[in-house]
Symmetry: C2
Amino acid sequence: MLFCGNYKSVLDFVARQVFDKLRKFVSIIEPKATEAMETKIRNMEDFAKASGISRPTISKYFNDPNAVRNTTRERIEQALETYDYRPNIFAMNQNRKLTRNIGVVVPSLADPFFAEIARNVERRCIDAGYQPTLYSAHGNRDQEVEILDSLRSLKPAGLLIAPLGRSSDKAMIEKFSQKVPTVLFDSYLPDIGLSFGGSDNFQFGRLIVDYLCRTGTPPCFFEMQNPSNPNANKRRQGYIAAMEALGHTPQVVSVTGEGWNFEEIGRNGGLEVIDSDGFPSDTVLCSNDRLAIGLISACFARKIPVGFESDSAIRIAGMDDHPFSRFTCPPLTTISQDYEAISKHAVETLFGNLEGDEITDKVVLFEGNLIMRKSA
Amino acid sequence: MLFCGNYKSVLDFVARQVFDKLRKFVSIIEPKATEAMETKIRNMEDFAKASGISRPTISKYFNDPNAVRNTTRERIEQALETYDYRPNIFAMNQNRKLTRNIGVVVPSLADPFFAEIARNVERRCIDAGYQPTLYSAHGNRDQEVEILDSLRSLKPAGLLIAPLGRSSDKAMIEKFSQKVPTVLFDSYLPDIGLSFGGSDNFQFGRLIVDYLCRTGTPPCFFEMQNPSNPNANKRRQGYIAAMEALGHTPQVVSVTGEGWNFEEIGRNGGLEVIDSDGFPSDTVLCSNDRLAIGLISACFARKIPVGFESDSAIRIAGMDDHPFSRFTCPPLTTISQDYEAISKHAVETLFGNLEGDEITDKVVLFEGNLIMRKSA
DNA sequence: ACCAAAATTTTACGCGCGGAAACTTTGTAG
DNA sequence: CTACAAAGTTTCCGCGCGTAAAATTTTGGT
């Protein structure tokens, strides 16, 4: 017999011959083989040895499975199933300039709206092969700063942040965004980050004012005096513009209150208004659903029937399509935010940029949809 | 002049003399000094050099600030302010057997109850000098498994988990808890983890049944047919025991529904019951507040007035003191869970154990308080 | 069957820190 | 002042992996 070819193919050939000869003993051999498999894989080197592939190649595979040849990838993935090895993420991230960590920051997780959008964003990050870590500023400027501060040491590949808004430390966020690719969502901060994606809050006003005027008395606008969220201002402006376009006089009712307990503020503010002069219109458009929930609660307390039916005394509408707004009494008419579109924009813009795409739009606004329920 | 003492004290002496001579130039020197300070501290070695303390001591300080002498700690902390260096957490955790990472896992962040308790737990971890990372299983068994799986690679010092409950992969959690100190909260899994702390759901039933019976018709019990959370069973049992103790016949109304959309389930189930035979009592105790919110919504849809007043047709009570339950129409009478006590127990038990304390109680139950509002 | 291009292997170094060992300085007590 | 334990310093090694360069092998197409 003549051996031709490189030593590897010769070895392959010999190995196959030997294995065929030994096949009848396979039942005896196998227990030993599994025993050998049990030898703990402690690091990439062990795994490389066990899988018969060099460590640098394994390393390449974990950084990008497509960076290795198909056949190699298959061999690695097969070995991976056998030995269930996973690289030490601390050692990985130590030398890598760019980790696959993504910081996800929202102003308040106690607000189901943000909980929902955070969930959506999180899922998308994981699906894209990144590792999101979720943070909530709990409505607090210092905590937002603290989060960014501790985020630095995670060397994140990117940041997806819904800023607190007015109370954010904009300089801090801007500084951070210059080091780490950052995409904003929900709440806009001028000239910060790669891009911003959120709802067209101005359009919200037009949409719902049109509807409310078409079906009854033109609405007044119910809001917090010093809204922490810039969206509230856009919404007020949208309301005013829409009213004026229709030839009505805008009427804004501002109530005091600090912080993020919007339901509480809406309720207390509502009670105050009701107990003094009352609302200037029998239709109240609230700056957001949570205020509306509080206001509905206040109306109930004062036995004022809410709804669009003839036996009702007041119509109330909100904005956001908060997860709970369909369970208020009556269910809340509102404008839905496009959760999916917003989270999709944020994630895809960030990852697109990380992979070299150009940013096409600095600001992307998504339209809301009118959700008609019983309250207005 | 004669120099006596070791070379360090001599140097110190000389340095002080030199410095005093140069004091008048301090305004000239300082810019240079700050310039020197700007020399980027890239690692612990640089920082050690800059602060004039050896690297191993710096290392000790970061692992436990109390492990170094007071004067040394002050010097380090002063240098820390000057140079704002922070150790590379990846390099730190690579060699340390025990990180300061704490995994915090809740079944669903979209539920404000868990959002709230998670916030509480998070805060306590940070205050204790640990680094919590928050995860939500989103009501999904696979995601819970996935979280624990990816948590492994973070080498967490401990795990604080509110399991999904019935649908949890108990074997997985148990296996995990044998490697990582684990404390359960909210939802009990027998014989898993160091300790469990949660509400005494059995007592909830007694408390509210007593109240409802004292003030009106004995309640029926409204629940999901296959509650994913074991607390629901305890609550039913508590209801039944309390009713029997008072000589009443317990009546349980179970509605179908899967998942974590409790409001939806409560609403649909409520509509179904109302539209067929109606509830067996004019007082309905709901297994949790979210079901109650759904039921109130159903009653409103059918124009059934809810409340304890004479013009009402049905009384509804819940359990949890959900953040929104005070804004329902009418505000929901319920049993409050002791968020503070539960999170405190979880955190303190875990950290106590990490620092060598013995576990005193495997199971700790906290009593709820009756929150009387208008709904019952 | 041959050859250039692509992929893999070999070899070697470094990241930033933890931690051990042997030694020196410091603080405190007798 | 001496003695001694505690704290700090020096020196060294290793963790698990990224990454670069050079050598080698494999691949795909002619």
